[in-house]
Amino acid sequence: MRTIFAILKKELTSHLTTLWAWVVFTVMALLISIFFVQSIGMFSQVQDAARSDPGGWSALPADLQMYRNLTDGVMLPLWNVVLVVTLFVAPFLSMRLFAEERSKKTLELLLTVPIRPVEIVIGKYLGGLMVFILTLSVTLVFPVILSLIGNSESGSALEWRTVGLGYLSMLLWGGALVAIGMFVSSMTESQMVAAFVTFAIGLAWMILPSMGSKLGEPVRSALDYLAVDRQLQYLVKGVLDLKPIVFFGSVVAFFVLLTHRSVEAQRWT
């Protein structure tokens, strides 16, 4: 336990000294703010329209009804953006994990101190996950702004439960990408190759359903089941759905296990 924590802590310290960490924080903050401002603009337009129309909300088309409250009108569209940005940034967070140990020859240290390889892998995964959580928490500023300046008849401007489950959704997606990235990183000395391959896998995963729609059953249902947005469709909307938690949890466990095998296997070459 203590060694896992030591590795986690070291990953975090090391990561924060890299330029990539701060580039990723900035990109996350920048992109999400652009979409946030756009969302807010749309939200206030629709709200004005609803107020000036004598028929009120019932006079507006169905697809504008989501703008009745801030949670559905601003936070929900934001998740789609976070999902895509995560696909781009997660590979840069996970690429270091093992590739750097190999290129700097420090893996030799980790494998000769009295700890089990599984502790190294878990420590590193948790380190990578913490870094992703830090990146994701940059976006916390947006719901905080909304809750400070927004108001609603029902009291709280935001439904925090829905927002929280939205964050959990992003964490599941990011956590899975970090696990895949760690595995890829364990197979190469080049961080750039690790990042690129991880991105390619993540991209393929994300566009799976659109490829599957042309195929026949049962391939289509299978691909549909694997689809990220399909898995997360209820959880982001605030329904505590256990299915995606189990699904992404299994993906993480699978790739952590594969990384362990890959680290062990390298000692033989």
Binding site: R2, T3, A6, I7, K10, T13, S14, T17, T18, K104, K105, T106, L107, E108, L109, L110, L111, T112, V113, P114, I115, R116, R267, W268, T269
Partner: protein, 238 residues
């Protein structure tokens, strides 16, 4: 008691045999020079003895523990300096030593005194606050040795500890290793014979993956000034 016991240790890389059925014993408290031409199998043997790499066949035991049946018990007794000091260049010397101490399971309350002890021993106290990435080669090597000494392991395995150092740094590192005699068993590899002559009581010579000499320094040199060189050249001839 034997600190290291090696039986029929063989390691192949695909079809190339790096080490071929090695057999030797190293007694507790000895300082042993592990010699051989470049590519003779020194690093491979050391990588196996530290549990980094499994052998293709054969057995290796450290303090009675088989390295691949009881790896944690064996590794607890080993401090290892690989060919390239395994430094995290983004950490300070102190941060790095603290991390390694935690990995080696040094109790939290003892970490501070343990870092002080190894830093004093290797003469890196003034460098504790610097990043390991900006250190000169000599200091990197010393940090590498300090790291190996953490947790006070009974056995130190040092792969070319004086490689790339200037004459003065060499002398200091050798004196440091010599000062460990008695308390630790030390195995160091090198291809610089004068260093071995200065500090080792025992010599192992490996050539093309086979042990060609395993004896005390006195027996190998036969009392002659150039005895070790002569023997080395004779044994490692084609």
């Amino acid at each position: 008691m034997a600190m290291i016991e090696v039986e029929n240790l063989t390691r192949k890389y695909r079809d190339r045999v790096a080490i071929d059925a090695l057999n030797f014993k190293i007694e507790e408290g000895d300082i042993v020079g592990f010699l051989g031409p470049n590519g003779a199998g020194k690093s491979t043997t050391m990588k196996i003895l530290t549990g980094f790499m499994p052998p293709t066949s054969g057995k290796a035991r450290v303090a009675g523990f088989d390295l691949f049946e009881h790896p944690l018990e064996a590794k607890r007794r080993i401090g290892y300096l690989p060919e390239t000091p395994p430094l995290y260049t983004e950490l300070t010397v102190h941060g790095y030593l603290k991390f390694v101490a935690e990995l080696k399971g040094v109790p939290g309350s003892k970490i501070k005194s343990e870092i002080e002890r190894v830093a004093t021993g290797t003469g890196i106290v003034p460098e504790l606050g610097r990043l390991t990435g900006v250190l000169s080669k000599g200091y990197r090597q010393r940090v590498g040795i300090a790291q190996a000494m953490l947790g006070d392991p009974a056995l130190l395995i040092l792969d070319e500890p004086t490689e790339g150092l200037d004459p003065r740094q060499r002398k200091e590192v050798l004196e440091l290793i010599k000062s460990l005699a008695g308390k630790h068993t030390v195995v160091l590899s090198t291809h610089i014979l004068s260093e071995v002559k200065a500090i080792c009581q025992k010599v192992l010579i490996i050539h093309r993956g086979k042990i060609v000499a395993d004896d005390t320094m006195a027996a190998i040199t036969g009392g002659k000034e150039t005895g070790l060189e002569d023997k080395f050249i004779q044994l490692t001839a084609e």
